[in-house]
């Protein structure tokens, strides 16, 4: 396993730990914008205005009775989804930047991007 792969796996593990085990300790108080909307009477302008129906609204996994578990599951699913979607989109966006497939391994600093 390369160092870079170790970083990717280690970083992903840290993210999953945060999502699963720190998110249950998150403050449930309104955030800055919600608080301002409450204080200055425009919170109701957003109520019931949702244009789409999200599958996991408010980071609570539907159908899971235990509230803590529902939040942690939502966090783990979202963290993995974010990673997977970024990598998929990234591979498409960066497809033509540098001909990495053609390079032999171990070409050193010359393998840096920027051939565009």
């Amino acid at each position: 396993m390369s160092r870079r792969q170790k970083w990717v796996i280690g970083g992903l593990l840290v993210a999953l730990i945060v999502a699963a085990f720190l998110s249950p300790f998150a403050s449930t108080k309104p955030d800055g914008l919600e608080r301002v909307a409450e204080d200055h009477g425009f919170l109701e302008k957003g109520e019931g205005k949702e244009v789409i129906k999200s599958p996991i609204p408010d980071y609570v996994m539907p159908g899971v009775a235990n509230e803590t578990l529902a939040g942690s599951l939502a966090g783990v699913v979202g963290t993995l989804l974010t990673f997977i979607l970024f990598v998929l989109v990234g591979k498409i966006l960066f497809r033509r930047s540098g001909d990495y497939a053609d390079r032999k391994p171990g070409m050193g600093p010359g393998a840096k991007g920027g051939s565009l």
Partner: protein, 214 residues
């Protein structure tokens, strides 16, 4: 500060969406010039970590909370253009899958948190010498706080232009809370970057990227 549906009007939503799309087009181009395909998994990890960290609201007193934005962290580690792409992915996923931030306000949320958050962080890091003139903790503290305050200012302007709330009401209120939230942002960003610097992990992470430490 994810703006929900109903807070910004059509013209503001469309205008900010066009601005964000233009910025992201530049970000894709610049990232392609400086990054490489091998950096994509690391950027994905950054996005995943920021998604997770944004779930962890911390109390700031007065019955209010905030959470990490992550733009300053991503900008330091990946450079401003890749940071914009990472932050945008997070904001889009939050809106589509978690009902956090409205779809009609997506352009505004992208502009505030992904585009402006990254650009402001980049300016501060550049001004303070990329962690060399000033200890990285201090520059990260200031970049983190500034990114949150500028995003909160832009958010206030969008709400005011939409006729949701007068600017003279919303701006001081938003800045008041976000001074506290921005301090949290700065402390967390500073702690993470100071730790990575002390343990000499940074060169390994950012070795071949457009990071601020190049």
């Amino acid at each position: 500060m994810h703006i929900p549906d109903g807070f910004v009007d059509l013209k503001t939503g469309v205008t900010t969406a066009v601005m964000s799309a233009a910025a992201l087009a530049v970000a894709v181009k610049k990232s392609r010039e400086t990054g490489d395909q091998k950096q994509v998994p690391l950027m994905g990890v950054m996005a995943a970590f920021i998604f997770a960290a944004q779930m962890v609201n911390f109390p700031v007193g007065g019955g209010t909370s905030g959470h990490l934005l992550g733009a300053a962290l991503a900008t330091y580690l990946l450079g401003p253009w890749s940071s914009m792409l990472v932050m945008s992915t997070v904001v889009i996923i939050q809106a589509l899958f978690f009902q956090d931030g409205g779809v009609t306000a997506l352009g505004s949320n992208l502009l505030n948190m992904a585009v402006l958050g990254s650009l402001v962080s980049y300016l501060i890091f550049r001004l303070l010498g990329d962690g060399r003139k000033v200890p990285v903790f201090v520059s990260a503290l200031l970049a983190g706080a500034a990114s949150v305050l500028v995003a909160a200012t832009a958010c206030s302007l969008e709400l005011a232009v939409s006729g949701t709330v007068p600017l003279k009401v919303v701006l001081p209120a938003m800045l008041g809370w976000h001074v506290l939230i921005g301090t949290g942002e700065g402390l967390i960003t500073g702690a993470i970057l100071a730790y990575l610097t002390r343990t000499q992990m940074l060169p390994e992470i950012t070795g071949s990227t457009a990071s601020m430490r190049r």
